[in-house]
């Protein structure tokens, strides 16, 4: 925070730019961004896309590509929801159970009545928000680790859903509702059809980027990076983290709404989504433990993961080996990004490198610089 107004000498700029993200031409800034783990995932998506197109020419068709993007939308939305929680330093393991609960809720509440679609959607969003509020408040006010809170929520919700449904598929929402997940705008030139999930994904992504540039997003990242400092700076941690959990549950709800179209109503829909979402987020270069990462990288991580599966399928790898490849990839990706974040980190300012600043501080009182310098390092 002390580097808010750095005074940069020309020699220092050439040796090591102080804030690389804000210097140089647009091209060099993009290149610098792509060198971080959060940017590298976009390169990974590009490489995977090209290799799929080479191995399976059908994939070069714009229509096929856009349908693939539509299919990936639910997991990308879930990953962006998980991003808020992870970047604030917590976990949300309840995501898959929330999806299952919402899917069953949609199936049973809406049923074959088209008039209940809007109330149904509102009810699902309200339930999602409520689950997020419970997760967040128990984590922040009762000080239970979020891993345990959301694990408990996962057990409770999935148990409840399977108890209500008896573990079997039940209820079938009206086709108009299922169209949100599987329909699209027809007869579009070039791409043939624009799936609704893709439109929803773009809207959610835009809102997310906007949100992360607002004070809310900045504070959320700060809360994940250093909760104590954020607390002392006056931000109510409990409120920010609770809102992160609400956003996560709401994302799971949206993912559930989309999945009804593809998968239908079954309590096993959404099983394992929490780990897939966490994997996607981590693949996007977001650091577990919070404080580092970009929200669009989380969505790109989801696309990278889905592209990888598609590539494995088109290469003829048996589906049973998918898990193994996924495991290898996430370990490798995180190992590489752990290195990259360390290299990309700005050097710690243990000694004032800029003589003009040091003398400037030293002038008013000889005691001040020593206290100012040591409190930062302790």
């Amino acid at each position: 925070m002390s580097t808010a107004t750095p005074s940069i000498t020309t020699t220092e700029t050439q040796a090591r730019p102080e804030l690389p993200l804000h210097q140089g031409s647009l091209g060099s800034r993009i290149a610098a961004g792509l060198a971080t783990p959060g940017g590298a995932v976009f390169v990974l998506v590009g490489v995977l896309l090209v290799s799929i197109m080479v191995s399976n020419p059908n994939f070069t068709d714009p229509g096929a590509l856009i349908r693939f993007a539509g299919r990936t939308a639910p997991i990308a939305i879930a990953a962006m929801g998980q991003y808020y929680v992870i970047v604030s330093g917590e976990f949300d393991l309840s995501m898959g159970a929330v999806i299952a609960a919402q899917v069953v809720l949609a199936g049973n509440f809406i049923g074959q009545d088209e008039g209940r679609i809007i109330p149904g959607l509102l009810l699902m969003l309200a339930v999602g928000a409520l689950i997020g509020i419970i997760n967040g408040l128990v984590t922040t006010l009762l000080k239970v680790p979020s891993f345990i809170v959301t694990l408990g929520m996962m057990l409770a919700l999935s148990g409840l859903v399977r108890y209500i449904t008896g573990g079997a598929a039940s209820g079938n929402p009206v086709d108009a509702f299922r169209d949100i997940g599987r329909g699209g705008i027809e007869d579009v030139p070039v791409v043939d059809v624009i799936p609704y999930p893709l439109i929803i994904l773009v809207v959610v992504a835009t809102l997310s980027v906007w949100l992360m540039r607002r004070p809310f997003g900045r504070t959320l990242i700060a809360a994940g990076d250093n909760p104590e400092a954020t607390h002392y700076s006056g931000a109510p941690l409990w409120s920010y983290k609770t809102r992160a959990f609400v956003l996560s549950s709401l994302s799971a709800t949206v993912a559930g709404i989309l999945l009804v179209g593809y998968a239908g109503v079954h309590p096993s829909v959404g099983a394992g989504y929490e780990f897939t979402a966490i994997t996607a987020v981590v693949l996007g270069g977001v650091v577990l433990g919070g404080g580092r990462g970009w929200v669009l990288s989380a969505a790109a991580g989801a696309f990278a993961l889905e592209l990888l599966f598609t590539l494995l399928t088109s290469l003829g790898v048996p589906s049973t080996w998918r898990d193994t490849v996924q495991g290898l990839i996430i370990i490798a990706a995180v190992a590489v990004s752990a290195r990259a974040w360390q290299v990309g980190r700005r050097p710690r300012r243990t000694t004032p490198t800029d003589p003009s600043r040091a003398t400037h501080i030293a002038t008013p009182s000889p005691n001040q610089p020593s206290t100012g310098a040591t409190t930062g390092e302790n």
């Binding site: 239970v144 408990g152 057990l155 148990g159 399977r162 108890y163 049973t320 080996w321 193994t324 995180v334």
Partner: protein, 337 residues
């Protein structure tokens, strides 16, 4: 009053919760016209504790070191099928099977530890990854049950000394060894130090990687024992037995329920054993009451959160004061408490 309250350790609270669970269980069982303390029922509870107990002991060590192990269910499955495959019903093969299985599991733990310490991958991701790798291997090479355990090996699960199953005794023996390791050996003390603050431990001259790797190796070895015990119980190897049990999350829940800090550096084995016992008692009571199996998950989930909430608040506050003089804010917080 305040002093007396703050001297109550979280382990004491866990045993208090266990006592409450046992009393409530006894009452509920009696209401259903059964005897909670009958030999059969006690035997049932002890049998339930043994498998999760092995895994939770290992998980405690890993969590104390500031890591996590999500690969345990797959190690359990792997050791179950590998052990069964080598035994193939021949009593002469028991020793080589056990040795090979343990060695294999320890290799998995070594890989986990090396990834966590040298590649600097968070334990959550590292073990999720190795778990997925093993899961893919199992799914590709084993369809359905595999191999079989000879009768001599099955006795491991069936033998009782008095009312206590041998498997529970072995589990308690392992717990004793783990407690000794944590309290009496350099490795144990270093594990606490690294889990508490790896950077401070490193600056104090510790090799921070050694305790974490050791914890992962022990955890995988104990998971393998749990897998072999399941093999003795079922008499065939099953490639999905571990993931069916949900041992990864349940063992972490038992560890945290036992008062161990998820961030590492604080906690003990005794608490974990109580955590495992609480789960076993609850499961047993719900079994006696014939609660719908799906609703059992609901009860488990609520119990985990509520039990941890009871002491999680004060857990963070009972740290020793720092060396500096208290600031005005600290004094205000003291007053508020």
């Amino acid at each position: 009053m305040k002093n007396r309250l703050s001297s109550v350790t979280s382990t004491t609270i866990v045993y208090g919760v266990l006592l409450v669970a046992i009393v409530a269980g006894a009452v509920l069982t009696a209401v259903n016209g059964r005897n909670f303390f009958s030999t059969g029922n006690i035997d049932n509870i002890l049998t339930t504790t043994s498998i999760l107990g092995f895994i939770a002991i290992g998980q405690t060590l890993v969590v104390l070191g500031g890591s996590l192990d999500l690969s345990v269910p797959f190690v359990v499955s792997l050791s179950s099928v590998v052990g069964a495959g080598i035994m193939a019903g021949d009593p002469g093969n028991i020793v080589p099977a056990v040795v090979v299985t343990l060695a294999l599991a320890m290799a998995v733990g070594l890989v986990n530890g090396l990834i966590v310490t040298f590649l600097k991958v968070h334990g959550f991701i590292a073990t999720l990854g190795t778990g997925l790798i093993i899961s893919g291997y199992l799914a590709s090479n084993y369809k359905g049950s595999h191999g079989s355990a000879p009768l001599d090996f099955r006795l491991l699960d069936a033998t009782r000394i008095g009312p206590v199953p041998v498997s529970t005794l072995i589990m308690l023996g392992c717990a004793g060894l783990a407690i000794l390791m944590l309290r009496r050996t350099r490795l144990g003390h270093h594990l606490y130090a690294v889990g508490g603050n790896a950077e401070v431990a490193r600056l104090s001259g510790l090799r921070t990687s050694v305790p974490v790797i050791a914890a992962h190796v022990i955890c995988s070895a104990l998971s393998a024992v749990a897998g072999l015990l399941l093999l003795a119980r079922l008499s065939v190897g099953n490639p999905t037995i571990g993931s069916q049990g949900g041992y990864d999350l349940m063992s972490i829940a038992a560890v945290v329920l036992g008062g161990t800090l998820l961030a590492g550096g604080k906690g003990n084995i005794m608490g974990t054993l109580a955590g495992v016992a609480i789960f076993a008692v609850i499961d047993n009571v719900m079994g006696v009451m014939q609660v719908n199996p799906f609703l059992r998950d609901v009860v488990r989930g609520v119990v985990i959160v509520v039990a941890v909430a009871v002491y999680a608040r004060r857990e963070l506050d009972t740290r020793p004061p720092r060396f500096e003089r208290p600031t005005g804010l600290d004094a205000a917080l003291q007053e508020a408490r």
